[in-house]
């Protein structure tokens, strides 16, 4: 069945039941936790302030906070990227912007 499914674009991830499940898992935990988008933004700013006391280079706009539904409890998961400074030198986008600047 697998290759037939692929042939008709019926990938497991594209199937509407899978989409329904993922959407439900997100919406249910938001219904229960009652964290508004405003509160979430504020949480990111305060998180970055606290983390900045211990580690440098935290940008609140890059923090990804998500609520996840678990079996017995819900989870608040924060992904906090720490920028590498000084730039590690010579990645593609850095070079591109350097070229642009030099014009």
């Amino acid at each position: 069945m697998g290759f037939l499914d692929n042939l008709f674009g019926n990938n497991k991830r594209d199937r509407s039941a899978q989409v329904a499940k993922e959407r439900l898992l997100t919406v249910l935990v938001h219904d229960r936790v009652k964290l508004t988008p405003d509160m979430l933004e504020q949480l990111k700013i305060e998180l970055s302030e606290v983390i900045a006391r211990y580690v440098p280079n935290v940008n609140p706009s890059e923090i990804d906070v998500s609520l996840l539904r678990g079996d017995s409890s819900d989870h608040l998961k924060a992904d906090v990227p720490l920028r590498r400074t000084p730039p590690t030198g010579g990645n593609e986008s850095d070079r591109a912007s350097a070229r642009f600047d030099s014009r």
């Binding site: 199937r15 039941a17 329904a20 499940k21 439900l24 919406v27």
Partner: protein
């Protein structure tokens, strides 16, 4: 002492009334004394689903306001002598009843019945709260659809907060063909999302429509797959171990005719 079981859902139109009528009928067919109470004041429908709409004289609000005794308001079923319906009032609203009224009513009926099934209104307001106030057990009906599952989760939270013991789940109107195509949430997925114990799974069945048209419960119809599923739930309520109906794809017409052929070939 009767077991008081409330059937509720959150979202409307998922099959609460059909479930109540069929579970009550199935239990009565096993010889239990059953009372069905329509708690949907102002939007009563259990009477028409049961085919008893022509026999209503008094209703729930008449009893609560003292114009009628419980015995006068209870309508005897057409076919099962041990089953009775307490109809809701149609011309009043849900504020005509409060939680204490429902508790008092259930207490008064306790000794005369083995099961009191309460058909809850949709929503999570006072009508719903009244309907679960007197319950010992709560059954939550959902369909495998996003809005219905979301509302069911709200109700699960409210029932758990009311300390009724864990509610049990009935997943209604499952379309096995869509599930196998990945276009409908499966039983396992709904159970995983809501994280409560299922007591029954009911496939979509056109017989439900014709049964409701006639005012007869589908459990009387041996051809009805949904009727059989409701009968299974009634047996589980009675404490029997009944395996869950297989909700993987039912064979289509072609497969039913040539199924043996296909299967033999597949093996070869």
């Amino acid at each position: 002492m009767a077991r008081v079981i409330t059937v509720t859902s959150g979202k409307g139109g998922v099959g609460k009334t059909t479930t109540t009528a069929n579970l009550g009928t199935a239990l009565a067919r096993y010889g239990a004394r059953v009372a069905l109470i329509d708690a949907d004041i102002g939007l009563r429908n259990l009477d028409v689903v049961m085919g008893l709409e022509n026999r209503i004289v008094y209703d729930l609000v008449d009893v609560i306001e003292g114009r009628a005794r419980v015995r006068q308001a209870l309508i005897k079923d057409k076919r099962l002598p041990e089953m009775y319906l307490m109809p809701a009032a149609q011309t009043r609203d849900k504020d005509a009843v409060n939680a204490e009224d429902m508790i008092a009513l259930a207490n008064e009926m306790h000794t005369d019945f083995d099961y009191i099934l309460i058909d809850s209104p949709a929503g999570i307001e006072s009508g719903f709260r009244n309907a679960i106030a007197c319950a010992n057990e709560v059954l939550i009906v959902t369909t495998p659809e996003v809005p219905s599952v979301r509302d069911a989760d709200r109700v699960v939270g409210l029932v758990e907060a009311s300390e009724k013991g864990p509610p049990r789940l009935i997943i209604n109107r499952i379309k096995p063909r869509l599930v196998s195509r990945g276009e409908m949430l499966s039983v396992d997925e709904v159970v995983e999302i809501l994280a409560i114990e299922p007591i029954g799974v009911v496939p979509e069945d056109e017989v439900i429509l014709s049964s409701t048209n006639r005012g007869e419960a589908a459990v009387f119809n041996a051809q009805s797959i949904a009727g059989r599923a409701f009968d299974d739930i009634a047996r589980r309520l009675r404490g029997e171990e009944v395996p869950f109906m297989d909700m993987s794809e039912q064979p289509g017409v072609l497969e039913r005719w040539f199924g043996g052929l296909f299967r033999r070939r597949a093996k070869a």
